[in-house]
Amino acid sequence: MSDTAIPSQTQSKATPKQTGLAIFSGRRGLKRREALLAYLFLSPAIIIIGLFGLFPLVFSAYQSTRAGLNNVVGRPDGLGQYVRAIDNLAYVLAFWLALFCLVVAIRNVNEIFATARAKEESPWRWLLPAFLSAAGLALMLWLIFTFMPGVLEIGEQLVGFTAEERNELFPQFLAEAWRAPGVSSTFYYALLAFFLSGLTYFLIQKNSKPTLRDGLYTGKWVTAVFLVILAGALIWLTFTEIQTAYAEALEEGESLAIWAQMVTISAGFVLLLLSWLVWRTAAHRDSNMQTFLRFFAAILLMVGGWVLISELPVVIAEGDEDWWISLRTTIFYVIGALPAELFFGLVLATMLYQEIKAKGLFRMIYFLPYITPAVGAAAVFKVLFSGNPTGTVNILLASLGLEPLRWLNEPSGVNQLIGQSLNFTVPEWAAGPSLALVVAIIFGIWKYTGYNVVFFLAGLGNISREYYEAASMDGAGRWAQFRHITLPLLSPITYFLTIFGIIGTFKAFNTIFVLRTGAALGTMDTASLVIFDAFNRDTRIGYAAALGIILLLVILSATALLDRFAKGRVFYG
């Protein structure tokens, strides 16, 4: 490492000796050398995070379009794995994802024109290089999809050879994979596109007036065009997939509801969306119009909701039941654990942020569960909440004169259990999370509250005392101060903790992997566990990849929804 840095040092020292124009080029050279050194510093991180953090996204997408059991190079299967998981909803989702891409692209274009109008210039000239760049990017993405089967095959071909033979054979096989139809040509087209893009960009910049020389638009153009290409590809994929599925079903003589389902579900979503839009515009109208629009929105909402409620269960019943249940379980887990973690975290933090003895000790104790390895801590909870009458919590219940519960062995929903003790039957759909899952939720609250305490404490420390002094002079009580000063000023932290809490709970694996029991009948299996089982136990590689992608989409839409909700509610200073 140090060897590489020394030449750049000596060179940078040498620059002052150059004179005239050379100083300028020397300074530029210095900049370039710094950039080079920075990339050198970053290279291990780029390789590792790129290969094991970012590339998996593309790799997953590729793998999810492949069939085959325990087979690295399965045959192409289009959306087949997704259909297995969520049935015809897969087509609807792909189509809507495409539409979403288009909407984002249109918004980008709008922004481009808004800036252009403000600066009174034309953004069109940068469209050509941007289009070429986006095309190059899309081709590179396509290259991964075409090159991957050959590359993965190399691994299989090399099995059984010695190390020397492998060193010799590897380049041969790689060259063979490279010569497969559509691989190298895609690469060269992509290179050509990038080259032309660079060239046109350079020419345009050079021929523009100096005030116009701004890369302000290019990035947005590239994104917009790339998204349009992506949307086009998705729509094409959806429709060819639907057509093949339709043809297959016709051959088998089944009556097929794909089109009807697509239309009804899409219509349901459109109606919900429209309802939301109408509701939003209603806010800006006069009172008569407002009432009418709100009424209209409510009708749209009801119709859309009814369409979805009548159609979605049919689709869900056709999909993978375990997967749907796991998604529901995950949502129960998030809803059960996250608000409580935030609430207790906030309460303890506000208490701790007073004149208190042994502040550090309390803080240390609260943080203890977070730092404890999850597997060990879950083992502890497994024993404490054991379904045996001799389990620690059951002994506690017994000493209070209560019946022992089956805790981690209890698959029935809590609402059902409560209903049983009150002697009425709760219907299946209202059963709620199983008692076993509730133990997992309690564990989550126990483990992550302290983490929130620490962050809330930091946030409280950032609030200026003056606000409270001013408020108490105006006669605000402690609750009013908390409600109108502390809560709003903590909202960025609450927002941060909520977003990361959602992501974290969706990720949760270790705890539930340890806590789950056979007797709980899979009522504790969150999405991560179903994916793990599909991969590790059933070796359904493509299917597990598809489930991973769906989970990512669920997380992204959950955080996006939260983002919408938080807009205007989060108060930054």
Binding site: M1, S2, A5, I6, S8, Q9, A35, A38, Y39, F41, L42, P44, A45, I49, F52, G53, L54, F55, P56, F59, S60, Q63, V72, L152, G155, L158, V159, A163, F170, L348, M351, I356, G360, F362, M364, Y366, L368, P369, P373, A374, V375, A377, A379, V380, F381, V383, T390, W446, T449, L457, A458, I503, N510, I531, F532, I541, A545, G548, L552, L556
Partner: protein, 294 residues
């Protein structure tokens, strides 16, 4: 819940307020309740781990005579020495990589100018939102492919267990925050003395950032010690299986030997707790200072 407890007991006693501060009492009550909830599972575990079999499977809270032999028995029966050593090895290799690569990358982000800086940083941070579950399949395939193609054995060996985690976006972010706080004057004077980036990093920045580097190492150690899904996927023999796996399978094997299981849990937790007790001040400080400035 405790909200009701206070007024119910002494509502009419308001005049005494000057001598006894009920607000303070309430605060301490809540704080101590929280602390008790946080700590009771640990105490229960220690208590159960010291019981004999009959006590562990009956309704007892505290062992009559502490059975310290449980720890030895659990250690031997679950083969913890093997798992313990494996985990230690995996964690140390991972942490070494994480610290070296993290320091280099964070320095580049904090102190150097290069094209694509923001894009790259954004991409790194984006990996924090990816669920683990989406990386299992592709990373497993990548790792097994690398094992077949390169002379290094990846699956069921240290590379598969450590290399994918040797650079963490979280660590780079944490260190960058600290590096950015180092005043520019230091860099200016270092430059006057003729120091380049690498020398400045090693001689000035690193000695100033012992605490964050320590924190990164601790978090890396904890993450590695706690990993379970990935090691199950990429190991086939016991040679490289970590302690979390050992504990998990011991939980299933030693079904009713609750006291031994708890001893095993304590053995797994203890190294982390010991480290935490010695470093908790820096630990918590770094946690709070790491994010959330913006």
């Amino acid at each position: 819940m405790a909200n009701q407890a206070v007024p119910v007991t002494r509502e009419p006693a308001k005049p005494v307020r000057s001598s006894f501060d009920w607000g303070k009492f309430f605060t301490y009550f809540i704080l101590i309740l929280g602390a008790v909830v946080a700590i009771v599972p640990f105490l229960a575990t220690i208590s159960i781990s010291l019981m004999n079999l009959t006590e562990a499977t009956s309704q007892t809270f505290i062992p009559s005579t502490p059975q310290w032999g449980n720890y030895i028995q659990a250690w031997q029966e679950a083969d913890f020495s093997e798992f313990f050593f494996n985990s230690l090895q995996i964690a140390l290799i991972t942490v070494a990589g994480e610290v070296v690569f993290g320091v280099l990358a964070a320095y580049a982000f904090a102190r150097m100018e290069f094209p694509g800086k923001n894009l790259l940083f954004g991409l790194f941070l984006a990996t924090l939102t990816l669920p683990q579950a989406i990386t299992w399949v592709p990373n497993f395939l990548t790792v097994s492919w690398l094992g077949k193609v390169t002379p290094l054995q990846w699956i069921d060996n240290w590379p598969a267990l450590t290399i994918p985690f040797m650079a963490s976006a979280f660590g780079i972010f944490l260190l960058r925050q600290f590096f950015q706080q180092i005043p520019d004057e230091l860099w200016d004077s270092a430059q006057i003395d003729g120091a380049g980036h690498l020398r400045y990093l090693i001689q000035i920045v690193l000695p100033l950032s012992k605490a964050p580097v320590l924190i990164l190492a601790l978090f890396g150690f904890l993450g590695s010690w706690d990993s379970l899904a990935w090691p199950i996927l990429v190991t086939r023999s016991l040679d490289w299986r970590p302690i979390s796996f050992g504990l998990q399978s011991f939980l299933q094997e030693a079904g009713s030997f609750v006291h031994l299981q708890m001893a095993g849990a304590i053995i797994t937790i203890l190294p982390i707790l010991v480290i935490y007790f010695f470093t908790q001040r820096q630990f918590i400080e770094a946690m709070t200072r790491s994010g959330l400035k913006g």
